[in-house]
Each structure stands twice: as structure tokens, then as C-alpha cells.
């Protein structure tokens, strides 16, 4: 008979022992909620600097891939900025071969603007890339800072002009090869 007493006693813990008590449930719920908030806050804080890196985490870091991009940027910059009055068409053709279809139109239009003067004054322009450095790069897109020296001379007037330029070159990979998608001079 005494064995039924505890089952009907309202003061007795549910399910028996401290583990089944309502006050423990309340306490544990509060602790778990508090911990969850604290863990969430710390995870957010810890993740914050990683997110900064994630925005550029697709950057290429392999040395060979970086070198390939740097060489392409320097080479293509030289090609689009080098032309001679006696090989104008060929220079144009060579440079256009490694430009995106959108940029080749822009480049062609720019070269048309200098065509007449180049022929008239027998102008030659030589561009030499003195350094190139990656601003940002993924496997398929890159932006490269190129320092380039241009020397423009006229065989007719014997005039010479030297310009030290700073270019930002946009490249995209087309069929596995870096191709120039745009170029802009700084300043």
C-alpha cells in the first residue's frame, strides 16, 4: 500500500528524482537558451574577419597561374599600345587577336582616330611594360596594374615624346587563354 503513496503525492517529482523535476527543466531551458545566444554571438564575431577574406577567397594563389596572368597583362598592354606607321594594319590585327569582341570594337575605334595622323606624320609608338601586379584575380577574370612606358616618335618631324603610364588592365579567360577585356589609364 505504501508503494502507491509517492505516485499520488503532488510534491513528488514527475518521473521520479531530481532529473524529472519541473524546476530543473526551467533552469536547464534558461541555461540552454543563454548558451545558444552566447555561442551564436561568438560564432558571428569569429566569422566576421573570415567573411572579409571570403569576398576575395576565389583569388588565384598558385604562383604559375599568377605569373601567367602577369605576363599576359604586360604582353597585351604592349601590343595594344605599340604601332608603327609602316605596319599599322598588321599591328592592329595582331593586337585584336587577343581582345574580347566587345573590347576589339572599342580598340578599333580608338585606332581609327589615330590612323590618319599616324600615316601623315609617319608615327611609331613603342610601349614597354616595366612592371605588372595583380589587383584581383580569379580563375577566369583578372585585373592587373601595369606600369608602361610609351615612346612616340615621328619620322617626318623627328619629334619624340615619352609618357610613363599607369594602366588598369581587365582580362578574362577565353578558351583557356587570357584575353584583354578593357584597359584604362589612371590619372
Amino acid at each position: 500500500m505504501t508503494s502507491d503513496t509517492s505516485a499520488t503525492d503532488p510534491a513528488a517529482p514527475h518521473g521520479g528524482g531530481v532529473l524529472g523535476s519541473a524546476w530543473l527543466a526551467a533552469l536547464l531551458t534558461a541555461v540552454v537558451v543563454g548558451l545558444a545566444v552566447f555561442v551564436g554571438f561568438n560564432a558571428y564575431e569569429a566569422l566576421a574577419p573570415a567573411q572579409v577574406a571570403t569576398s576575395v577567397s576565389t583569388q588565384i594563389t598558385d604562383d604559375d597561374a599568377r605569373s601567367e596572368l602577369l605576363v599576359a597583362a604586360a604582353d597585351l598592354s604592349q601590343r595594344v599600345l605599340t604601332y608603327h606607321h609602316d605596319s599599322f594594319e598588321k599591328d592592329l590585327e595582331d593586337a585584336s587577336a587577343r581582345l574580347t569582341p566587345e573590347f576589339v570594337e572599342e580598340y578599333g575605334a580608338a585606332m581609327e582616330r589615330v590612323r590618319a595622323n599616324t600615316a601623315k606624320n609617319e608615327i611609331s609608338q613603342e610601349a614597354t611594360a616595366v612592371s605588372s601586379a595583380i589587383i584581383s584575380a580569379t580563375q577566369d577574370e583578372g585585373q592587373v596594374l601595369v606600369f608602361i612606358n610609351q615612346e612616340t616618335s615621328s619620322a617626318r618631324t623627328k619629334a619624340k615624346q615619352q609618357v610613363r603610364n599607369r594602366l588598369v588592365v581587365d582580362l578574362v579567360r577565353v578558351d583557356g587563354e587570357w584575353t584583354m577585356a578593357g584597359v584604362g589609364a589612371l590619372g
Binding site: 514527475h14 518521473g15 521520479g16 528524482g17 532529473l19 524529472g20 523535476s21 519541473a22 530543473l24 527543466a25 536547464l28 531551458t29 541555461v31 540552454v32 548558451l35 545558444a36 552566447f38 555561442v39 561568438n42 560564432a43 569569429a46 566569422l47 574577419p49 573570415a50 572579409v52 577574406a53 571570403t54 569576398s55 576575395v56 577567397s57 576565389t58 583569388q59 594563389t61 602577369l70 616595366v130 612592371s131 605588372s132 601586379a133 595583380i134 589587383i135 592587373v144 596594374l145 606600369f147 610613363r164 599607369r166 588598369v168 589612371l186 590619372g187
Partner: protein, 167 residues
């Protein structure tokens, strides 16, 4: 679910959260998924870029009324030969800036990284300064710059060990 089972579940959840919290407090973001080698490398690129931009900004900027303080910023971000050379020329730089009442407002236009590994980097920076001095009769003149920085990592900071103008 009876109360006993519910409490056991809460206990397990509490222990798991406690362990996660301890891990986070001890190891920071390394304890979280996503900090890959590529992300560490990307963060390194970002650190180098920021340090180079800050150094060029400090190096090119001139305020004849505040030259010593500006020079200290350059020295704080410098090391090795560059630090020594800059320190040696500091008096002359200060006298010149004060005599000419020079100001140069520097703007970093682009920063690119040429070579980089865990402890050294070669960085190129394009910047402009807008300069006014007695020599310009108070009118401002924009000067373009092409700069190469050699950087080394010391005590988790990227410092400039060499600076040269690219001709």
C-alpha cells in the same frame, strides 16, 4: 515526452553548446568551417594591400605643420634598410617641408601584388599627390607616382623594407 527525458535532452544540448563555446573562445574563427587555405591566402593579400596603401599614403603625404607626426607613421610601418634610410633623411625632409611650406595630399589609386609568399611580398602602387608649396606659388599641382614596395611580415604585421620609384 516526459519531463525526465526532456531534461536529459536539455542537459545534452547544454553540454554541446558549452563545448562549442569553449572551442570558439579558445580557437576563434579557426573553429568554424570556411577558414580554408585559400581564404587565409586571400586575407594575406588583403593585409598586404592595406599595409602598402597605408604606407604610400603616409610616405607621400606632407603637411609642413605636422611633418614629424607624419614621419612617425612612416617609421612605424617600416623596417630594415628603408627604415634606416628614411630616418637618416628625416631632418632634411622636415627642414625642406617647413622651408617650402609644402603640403601634399596623397591619394592611392591602385595597389597590385607582384610576388607574395608567407613572409615577403613585392607590391606596386599607383598614387597621385596634389602638391602646393612656395615653389608652386600656392597653386596646386597634381603629381603622378609609380612606386614599388618590398614588404616583409614581422610580428604579424606587413612592414616596408624597401621603397623605390618606378622609372
Amino acid at each position: 515526452m516526459d519531463l525526465r527525458r526532456f531534461n536529459i535532452l536539455l542537459l545534452i544540448l547544454g553540454l554541446a553548446l558549452g563545448a562549442a563555446l569553449a572551442l570558439l573562445l579558445v580557437r576563434g574563427n579557426e573553429a568554424l568551417p570556411g577558414e580554408t587555405e585559400a581564404e587565409q591566402s586571400a586575407k594575406q593579400h588583403l593585409d598586404v594591400t592595406r599595409a602598402a596603401a597605408a604606407q604610400v599614403q603616409a610616405f607621400l603625404g606632407v603637411d609642413h605643420e605636422n611633418v614629424e607626426e607624419q614621419a612617425q607613421v612612416v617609421l612605424d610601418g617600416a623596417t630594415g634598410d628603408f627604415k634606416q634610410q628614411y630616418a637618416e633623411e628625416l631632418d632634411s625632409l622636415i627642414r625642406s617641408a617647413q622651408a617650402q611650406q609644402s603640403t601634399a595630399e596623397a591619394t592611392v589609386l591602385e595597389v597590385g601584388i607582384s610576388d607574395i609568399d608567407a613572409s615577403v611580398a613585392t607590391v606596386f602602387v599607383a598614387a597621385d599627390t596634389v602638391v602646393t608649396s612656395k615653389a608652386t606659388d600656392g597653386t596646386s599641382r597634381t603629381v603622378p607616382w609609380r612606386i614599388q614596395l618590398d614588404m616583409v611580415k614581422e610580428d604579424d604585421r606587413w612592414l616596408t623594407s624597401g621603397l623605390q620609384f618606378v622609372g
